[in-house]
Symmetry: C2
Subunit: 341 residues, 2 copies
């Protein structure tokens, strides 16, 4: 892949613009004693891709990106809001190389912070001229995300014995279509919302907003497939996450696990299924499972699939006139495929 230092610099620049808005919004409405908890998830950084999509979409749709700053801050908060809750649901203890919010401050504070985040999101969106439209976009996509998360959990092949609903509704058969449907909801939702909000803040017409939505949809699918890949074959030091977390968490809702299982047979398949359904997995078994997956070629398959969706994302913007911002969005689509974290 070509050198992407320009893009990374642009992402950094955007992060520096959005961060003060996020900090102020979180601090403004909370007692000093609570601010420490609220700011923690933001301090740990993150790639800030979603706010970049908001600002770049606004500019590419002919708007002034400054007008979309509140929306950009809001979508980054939505992302962090869902991560706080995800980490509770998945019992995740490490995120971005640091303890997760519930692990650091306890469940009560993590839950109260999540509720507070959601209100700060509305406060930010209420400042916009287009607040009603922005609020309905955010509403709609958070509900889609909830459905995606619900499906992701139901696609798990073991665990949660203390959660009657999950045990009763667990899916043992998951098709590739089911998988795409799930990640569209779980992951594309916020990319769709980001791209649409940027276009809305630019005052774009509906067919332009729709083009940006499609861009976000496909970018999100590409993003999640690469996330699945990095979960299994990434570098822990780069991603800040534990390698093989999806196997440890019994997830069938990972493209490489799902497709890999279709390509192995006999003892190997049995071994892999056993690992996926084990309460505790040894380091050796995890490594053996990853090695089996690697041999099936799903890694290359996933890269190709991610690349196809990134290309789809790029062509969604064909009706948008060329500009520097549009060029950066196209580069972002490439970056999503070839990133290491």
């Amino acid at each position: 892949m070509k050198n992407n230092s320009d893009l990374l610099e642009k992402l950094d620049e955007i992060a520096r613009e959005v961060e003060p808005v996020i900090y102020e919004a979180l601090s403004e409405n909370a007692s000093p004693e609570f601010q420490e908890v609220l700011l923690y998830p933001i301090e740990t950084g993150g790639k800030r891709i979603r706010p970049a999509v908001v600002l770049l979409s606004c500019e590419a749709a002919g708007g002034v990106p400054e007008k979309a700053l509140n929306a950009a801050a809001a979508i980054e908060l939505v992302h962090n809001y869902t991560l706080i809750i995800d980490d509770i649901i998945d019992h995740g203890e490490i995120r971005r190389g640091r303890p997760t919010l519930w692990k650091k401050y306890g469940l009560t504070m993590a839950l109260l912070a999540a509720v507070q985040y959601r209100e700060v999101i509305s406060e930010l969106l209420l400042k916009s001229e287009n607040s009603k439209r922005l609020l309905s976009i955010v509403d709609y996509y958070i509900m889609r995300l909830v459905e995606g998360e619900r499906l992701d959990v139901l696609f798990e092949q073991f665990g949660r014995e203390d959660e009657p609903y999950v045990v009763d509704h667990r899916r043992t058969n998951v098709s590739f279509e089911d998988y795409i449907n799930m990640i569209t909801r779980k992951t594309s939702s916020l990319y769709e919302a980001s791209a649409m909000m940027g276009a809305v803040e630019a005052g774009a017409e509906e067919r332009v907003i729709e083009a940006f939505r499609e861009f976000g949809l496909n970018l999100g699918i590409s993003f999640q497939i690469v996330d699945d890949l990095l979960d299994l074959f990434g570098s822990a030091s780069e991603t800040g996450k534990q390698i093989g977390k999806d196997i440890i968490e019994h997830k069938l809702g990972n493209m490489l696990i799902l497709k890999g299982l279709e390509r192995i047979y006999g003892d190997e398949k049995q071994f892999f299924l056993n690992v996926l359904r084990s309460k505790q997995i040894s380091k050796e078994d995890l490594e053996k499972a990853l090695e089996i997956l690697l041999r099936t070629g799903v890694r290359e398959n996933a890269i190709r699939e991610a690349w196809l969706y990134a290309e789809k994302a790029k062509s969604s913007l064909s009706i948008i006139p060329d500009s520097k911002a549009k060029k950066t969005l196209l580069e972002l689509a490439d970056y999503v495929v070839y990133r290491n974290k």
Copy 2:
């Protein structure tokens, strides 16, 4: 107290009007498999006092109550949203005589339902002509409620050893002023929001909206003091809750416990503090603690305090012209003090 069968009939009538709106809003945006989870907290009933405050305030402020139906449904959903999260925070297993949502369906589904509730609330409020105002009221008061809940937890005298933040910030000295400040946030918030939203939907002027806010504020304080009383001296079969839950949960943020502790000395005080700080409390010790409290006279004290705030609530409405709806609101203020559940 005078016969309140008229009031209870009116509350029932309002519940019957609001319920279909709640059911439709929850069902509309969720897959059938998830609807079961979402509807469960609503099926278990509840007093529906908050939506009644919305509709009656709208009417008393000169509006058409039908216009406030979505706001009434929304505030009942806010109430249930906070209960879902409260029950997780307090490890509460029984509510309204049935298992709590997390206990019934597991933590994951309870969290996803809570997130979904919050979006459905916005969807309902976005339907109003006054949506921006209603949404900022709801935002603001949910954030106040979060702060109240945070303080309530920090006023606990024991437990949550797995929650570092709580252990570090626990308050051992709580004044009556601190208590009122905490319950104003924890409980009055949604009453203030309810009364204001009703007035806003009536198109009332600011000083009228402010009068309704004050009504809600004082009604909420009265309501919480009586809740504290019922927690300790109510009837489990009527309240649907375990008696003495606040003692079991180590809460200093209960008016009767707080005031009672100021009135006992020596061995009795030590015994009471030990009970409040015990991991496990025997039935006998709980009964003895309640008996000590009863002898201090805090029960009568709490009733008087609740009555004073109810009177304050009523006089907040003095600038509002008399009407049937206003009369019902005044009756509601009395009911809040003299209710058994």
